[in-house]
């Protein structure tokens, strides 16, 4: 997470948006088992565009994150992709311990507005909630 924060913070504000766009372009596709079963995914209501997510915990208690967001919602896709890069494959407990302020620390708030960054905070909260439910 700190590496990502540094990646964003080292750039001038306008170029942080360009980096977010790169993440947006590179959001991994859903695997077929989810692409065919959108009902398994959880809608992130706080986001202005439809975004869905799902967390799997493997045998070693590592968390795997899956997201789906439409091409017309590149900011939301970018947020999802940054979270994927930061957290996918980490031990579930590490994800639970991740700083809730992570979305605010990327230095994107001025570039995308506080309202929009709320959506990313909501995604992180929902990821943690799913993990807690699955570990319980």
């Amino acid at each position: 997470m700190q590496d990502l924060i540094d990646d964003f913070q080292d750039l001038p504000v306008k170029e942080r948006l360009t980096l977010l766009l790169e993440f947006s372009d590179n959001l991994p596709e859903l695997p077929a088992r989810y692409a065919d079963h959108p009902d398994l995914l959880e809608r992130v209501e706080e986001c202005q565009s439809p975004v869905y997510l799902f967390v799997e915990i493997d045998e070693d208690k590592n968390a795997h994150l899956f997201f789906s967001a439409p091409a017309e919602a590149p900011t939301t896709r970018g947020f999802a992709s940054v979270l994927h890069e930061a957290l996918d494959g980490l031990p579930a407990q590490t994800v639970l311990d991740a700083d809730n302020q992570f979305p605010d620390l990327l230095g994107l708030t001025a570039a995308v507005s506080p309202l929009r960054i709320n959506g990313m905070r909501a995604m992180l909260a929902r990821i943690k909630r799913q993990i807690r439910e699955k570990l319980a």
Partner: protein
């Protein structure tokens, strides 16, 4: 010199066909001196994903709003913004965006607060341009800075404040939010929970016409007969009425404001941008819950 208007027959029936251009017209006129194309979207990265060649990006949240006050830019900041976008006072500005031009209408309304003469919307916006397979580019349009003059913002004609609404009772109001917001079942728009208000319901006597009813599936505006049916028939407006439209923060109602003013030809239409996030959190202003508009209270003197 304004760029010649779009003579398309599909626009001719509206009260002010000069306020719209078709995708065909824009494609044929890209690069015309004196024409500036602006993209205004809800999603702050959509322009970067691909935009109409020569278009310049403008962002409603980070650029048109004051960053401290709940207000729009003042004259000096607007002049600085437009200069940085390479816009001259006499330029023809065509704005387009996502979601049936929802945010493009909002930008157009702000331009009109500063009296920019020639601002038009691309009928159908971003989605129609893309659906027709027209060219998109990721190349950021280079801009030569201009000297846009400092013009004082004039709110009276097209913007209503809370007190103006209290004085307006007895004249028609249009609430352009979803039926769930209108009845008070929700205090925020579906999917936008962070922009709530403390109370639910609507301003007494307001008719509910959700903004998107004025748009076709291809995101263009409905034809004149359908618009008349919606606003004169169903909402009960009479030509010549003095109308105030509102939503939650004034963006969806900019779309309706555009329809009433430029397509139907109402001369006195104002957008109440304080809208429900202000009214629904204000102390001691009247509110009606449920589906019925309710009676208009006595107007404030």
């Amino acid at each position: 010199m304004p760029v010649p208007f779009d003579p398309s027959e599909t626009l001719a029936e509206y009260a002010h066909p000069e306020a719209l251009v078709t995708t065909e017209w824009l494609a044929a006129n890209l690069g015309t001196p004196g024409l500036v194309v602006l993209e205004s979207d809800e999603d702050v990265l959509l322009y970067e994903v691909g935009h109409i060649p020569t278009a310049v990006k403008i962002d409603w949240f980070t650029e048109l709003n004051d960053d401290t006050l709940r207000d729009y830019l003042d004259g000096e900041k607007f002049a600085a913004l437009l200069s940085s976008k390479g816009i001259k006072r006499e330029d023809t500005v065509v704005i387009y965006g996502d979601k049936s031009n929802w945010w493009a209408s909002y930008a157009l309304w702000v331009f009109k607060l500063f009296g920019h003469e020639d601002v038009r919307l691309l009928n159908g916006g971003r989605d129609k341009w893309i659906a027709e397979g027209r060219e998109l580019t990721r190349e950021v349009t280079p801009v030569s800075e201009t000297q846009y003059p400092v013009v004082e913002r004039k709110d009276e004609e097209i913007r209503a404040f809370r007190d103006d609404v209290l004085k307006h009772f007895g004249n028609p109001l249009i609430d352009v939010r979803s039926p769930q917001e209108y009845t008070g079942e929700r205090t925020h728009m579906p999917d936008y929970p962070e922009e709530g208000a403390l109370r639910g319901g609507h301003i007494p006597s307001a008719a509910n016409v959700p903004w998107a009813k004025a748009a076709n599936e291809d995101k263009t505006f409905k034809n004149l007969a359908d618009l008349k049916d919606l606003y004169l028939g169903q909402a009960g407006l009479t030509p010549g009425d003095n109308v105030i439209a509102y939503c939650r923060i004034g963006e969806r109602s900019s779309h309706t404001w555009f329809v009433l003013k430029y397509l139907l030809g109402f001369e006195n239409v104002r957008n109440y941008d304080g809208s429900w996030t202000e009214w629904g959190s204000s102390v001691a202003v009247p509110i009606v819950k449920g589906e019925a508009p309710g009676a208009a209270p006595a107007p404030k003197k």
